[in-house]
């Protein structure tokens, strides 16, 4: 039984914890958490099981290997570019040439074939396109050093949530000192130049300006593992054994950070209070 990741104690002292920063970017990513059968969903941001799987693949752990060491890493994810959702429509045919079975059974208890004969399954797979996340993992430095070496020369193929989604380079941004929050807060916006300029153009249009508006900071949503967080995510894998899947929950805290954009000449007015949400008295009443 591996420990629930939320039980990981906070950093005991300055020298014994460090933070590994990964840049998870690709044309397509898919971070499934609840998908089953013919609908394979994706969460809006990387899951702990997805990132743990990536690290385990880099280390070359076999499917049934215990994951305690990796699950003890405390994870935080920042959505630099949230991306858009892509639904991939599949019609999967049965190669054996028999029609698919229907739900009803015959007198012998055998599933009857569909009539009229139906040969194809429809499956939907969901992806995030053009998204970019920064995943930070807090843990002991010697493990993080080992992980960096493994990620630079991975044993198995690396993928962002699904085998068809290889990551773009650079994947490893390095190892930082400090705690998870301050590292995610201090790291500048990782969006590509093209994404940054597109954001500035959209912002300028929304503000009724002639040209682009380049703010000094940009709001990014952050999900941090936290022992007394408000939300629970069921994405801590006990093992990756395909015949024995089981997941634990972990507590997370959702936040917004203002991250420096890195524009060389940011406009003086910042994009802070103009778009602030309206007053919602129901936010304090729980769910």
């Amino acid at each position: 039984m591996s420990p629930a990741a939320s039980d990981v104690p906070d950093r005991a002292g300055p020298g014994d914890r460090a933070v590994l920063v990964l840049r998870l970017a690709a044309p397509l990513q898919s971070w499934g958490a609840q998908g089953a059968f013919n609908v394979r969903d994706t969460r809006p941001e990387p899951t702990k099981s997805g990132v743990t799987g990536l690290l385990a693949a880099a280390l070359g752990l076999p499917r049934g290997a215990p994951l305690d060491e990796l699950l003890a890493l405390r994870m935080g994810v920042r959505a630099d570019v949230p991306g858009t959702l892509l639904r991939d429509y599949h019609a999967v045919s049965d190669f054996r040439g028999h029609p698919l079975p229907q739900a009803g059974v015959s007198a012998k208890g055998v599933q009857k074939p569909t009539a009229p004969a139906k040969y194809t399954h429809v499956t939907s797979r969901y992806y995030l396109q053009d998204a970019l996340f920064v995943a930070a993992l807090e843990g002991p430095p010697e493990l993080l050093n080992r992980l960096v070496a493994a990620l630079r020369a991975p044993h198995f193929f690396l993928a962002l949530g699904r085998r068809s989604c290889p990551p773009t380079q650079p994947l490893v941004l390095g190892i930082e000192n400090g705690d998870l929050e301050s590292v995610l807060r201090g790291l500048p916006w990782q969006a590509s130049e093209r994404a940054k300029n597109s954001y500035a153009r959209k912002l300028g249009r929304r503000r009724g300006l002639d040209g682009p508006f380049r703010p000094a900071t940009v709001p990014c949503s952050v999900t941090l593992e936290h022992a007394d967080g408000d939300d629970v995510l069921q994405d801590v894998p006990l093992t990756f054994d395909p015949h024995d899947r089981a997941f634990l929950g972990r507590r997370v805290r959702q936040e917004w950070l203002r991250v420096h954009t890195g524009f060389s000449d940011p406009d003086a007015a910042t994009e802070i209070e103009a778009d602030q949400d309206i007053h919602d008295p129901f936010e304090l009443l729980g769910r």
Partner: protein, 275 residues
Amino acid sequence: MPYLSRIRINPLRAESRRYLESPRAVHGAVTGGLPGSASDERPLWRMDSDDPHRPHLIVLTRSRPDWSHIVERAGWPDAEGQHALVRDYAPLLGLIAPGREFCFRLTANPVQNSPSPVSPTAAQRKRIAAEQDPARRRGFRMAHRTAAEQLRWFLQRTERWGFAVPASRTDPPAAGLSAECAPASDALSRTATRSSPDRTDPTPREVRITARHRRTFAKNGRGPRVVINSVTYEGRLQVTDAEALTHHLLNGIGPAKAYGCGLLTLAPIKGGAPG
């Protein structure tokens, strides 16, 4: 057990226009949503129109209400989504502790009472003339009508209501800036002085007036018209006296509570660290 409700109002419907025009009509509709007799409790309500095309009616009641009559006549009865959201208010009351900070919104009716108005109206003159003993004359309730007085009315009373409005977090001006815009900064400090509770205290506070309305309506369409000046305040507050704040959250602030004033609502402070 108190409940907070939010009801979507469709401004295109005839009944909604009545609600938006007359606080009296809303008062009737709100009390009509409570099964107990009307004398049992005094519900507090407020019309929030951040988006004028999608106003929301916020109501605080002691007993669990039913808003189907409002949804049917002034909402979108067949539309998707939540027509009326009713939530238990107790979790919020559990959060009230000294030192905690929240965002707030309040629509109130700032008034003052004076036995000797500077320029009395005809009705007031009549009453003054009719009074035998001027020392025993009851004061006239008069609305504060300038923004500065309305703001000071609010800030003078926050301590009694159980909270303090923190000083606003403005950075000092950059070096060399203050000398250049001396007249402007002078004007700024004048307004700040006016907006602070104490005339000698120039500290600006974390509160602003977001809406001011003068509403008039007649009772039953006849008789003298009721006139109400409602002011919407928004800002940040820090709890100083949990008991007093809980009392004022549940019982409202200031006069005209039946007419959409006095409901103080709290929201979390937005976490996005500015800058």
